[in-house]
Symmetry: C2
Subunit: 364 residues, 2 copies
Amino acid sequence: MNYQELPTPALTIDLDVLERNLDRMADYCRQHGIGLRPHTKTHKTPEVARMQVQRGAVGLTVAKVGEAEVMAAAGLDEILIAFPIWGNEKLRRIAALARERNILLSLDNEATAQGLSRAAGAAGATVGVLAEFDVGMRRCGVEPGPAALELARKVEKMPGLKFRGLMLYPGNIWGTEENREKIVKDVAERVGKALEPFRKAGMEVEIVSGGSTPSALLTHKIPGVTEIRPGTYVYNDLNTFYQGACRLEDCAARVVATVVSTAVPGRAMIDAGSKTLSSDGLGSGPATGHGMVVEASDAPLIKLNEEHGHIDITRSSHKFYVGEVVTVIPNHVCTCVNMHDEVFLVRKGQVEGSWKVAARGKVR
Amino acid sequence: MNYQELPTPALTIDLDVLERNLDRMADYCRQHGIGLRPHTKTHKTPEVARMQVQRGAVGLTVAKVGEAEVMAAAGLDEILIAFPIWGNEKLRRIAALARERNILLSLDNEATAQGLSRAAGAAGATVGVLAEFDVGMRRCGVEPGPAALELARKVEKMPGLKFRGLMLYPGNIWGTEENREKIVKDVAERVGKALEPFRKAGMEVEIVSGGSTPSALLTHKIPGVTEIRPGTYVYNDLNTFYQGACRLEDCAARVVATVVSTAVPGRAMIDAGSKTLSSDGLGSGPATGHGMVVEASDAPLIKLNEEHGHIDITRSSHKFYVGEVVTVIPNHVCTCVNMHDEVFLVRKGQVEGSWKVAARGKVR
């Protein structure tokens, strides 16, 4: 079946593009001796995680305990939960996982470590810990300096925990090449500041986990980082494109939609709205619109209702008609994938099957 | 269990508030002799649909065939698919449903009607049709005037279809009371223009379906409208509040979240981001922010990453701490509910159970 025959809206993944994206990142990491621990939040699909491991990933990253459970149940191991999980029920689930698999958690404060230690101790499990420090995102993480070492020392003394290293999230590295280079220098300085106390104290830091798709290929310019956690690179999206971190033809995920109404002058309506594409905006490039209509890039997707996508056709040379199938590159593929129970696999225009988005909706 | 003991993030529904919201809308419709065909897109839950029917709803509204299937499987009938569905697979599913239930579809063009007629004919089913006209949303619908009558006449001649009336979506009626009154007058004029040709031709229009939550209680000022399709009113949200269409205490849906990090000065991070709250903006009131933190309304939720909610605590008198449970009223409850596989039912602070969001993710 050709992808145009799929019932719409449907989220499709071009397998050739996916494989090329996976290869490129794996090659970069191999070449520079950097570990790759891809963030599965983008695909939420064990099949893709397995492709990443087959290409040499040192482990996986997730944000939620439920995501870790899905990946562990699929046989995957060495899973970093890159989120400071709080709450006894979830900590018990982490400890249960850690009896069977290598599980790590990132955290930035003693109270979270204590909760994790109690749960791990009760289960007779050991959970790895990464102490998070902030490199400018102002999200989580202690100030680079002595704080991370102090936290590490406390973690070392807690039963059921093993301090394995540090984590940073350089999500602030994006924009023009010039901008990125500038921020990379700043991040490198902060990494140095975080590592210095450990060096002085003679304390081993096995892992320094960084990454993010826009910054991934600049990681070799940040001394000390041992691994990266990019997520978006598997599928890419319009944001990644406008950040200069991929080409349009590297966007593997596209929403196939149908034009359902042209009754209102100047408009074509498609059957993909915010419950299909997500309402995440475009943070780069033109910084407006809700995705690119591949067949008519001069016809902006100006507005989304929940199930309607509004295409402004007033300045387009393309003639839209009811029943026409179009494809949309989403602004943000991670939140888009999270709208879908399944993705359809396409190779050279033909549908070869589908994957269940098994970790979709795992909010806890 | 108290709601504060739920693993977070969790979407909770206050049952007392829900019941009050359902009663208020049912009472209004009864009082004014207006039919209520609530849009189930907000709750996507057969249990709530049943409560609506028990309170006198004349039927239900959905946007997707998959949503109609969920409601029909739960025993619910008289379902309007208020979306001009295109595509043979979906039209066959509509026809299959229409053999067992009363199904209506809204549409605004002949080609969509022809597809539906072929599918209905092949299945030996009859599908009701509402011809949609535009009242200023510039989304779907023909221009009020002779076009709707022309379309109705074509539909009447097509096998498997029964013309049952007209549909409008007055989603443009919102804002200040003054603004709303002004737009109501304009919409009423357009409804008159759409109905006039039918009156002249002596053709019956059984249904004129309008509605939307912000405009619902003004429907009696729009002569000719026989029923409304509000959705959001069951739970309400911050947008509804700032539109003046509900009070804060009418917001039945709240996301229970935990403060997971206060390491970065001026910030408190919660474990609810765009994959929990949705990234839909606030279109009214302050028109910024990602939801209201009930415990500290002076601490704006300024940014969402996928799993992190950034609370700016610099101007708040509230003292946030790691492990603290907070509740967030979402900007837009329809897209928020769509993120969750289940909602937790709360009455007077106690958790009484949960409902599966059975129609969540039914993109087709």
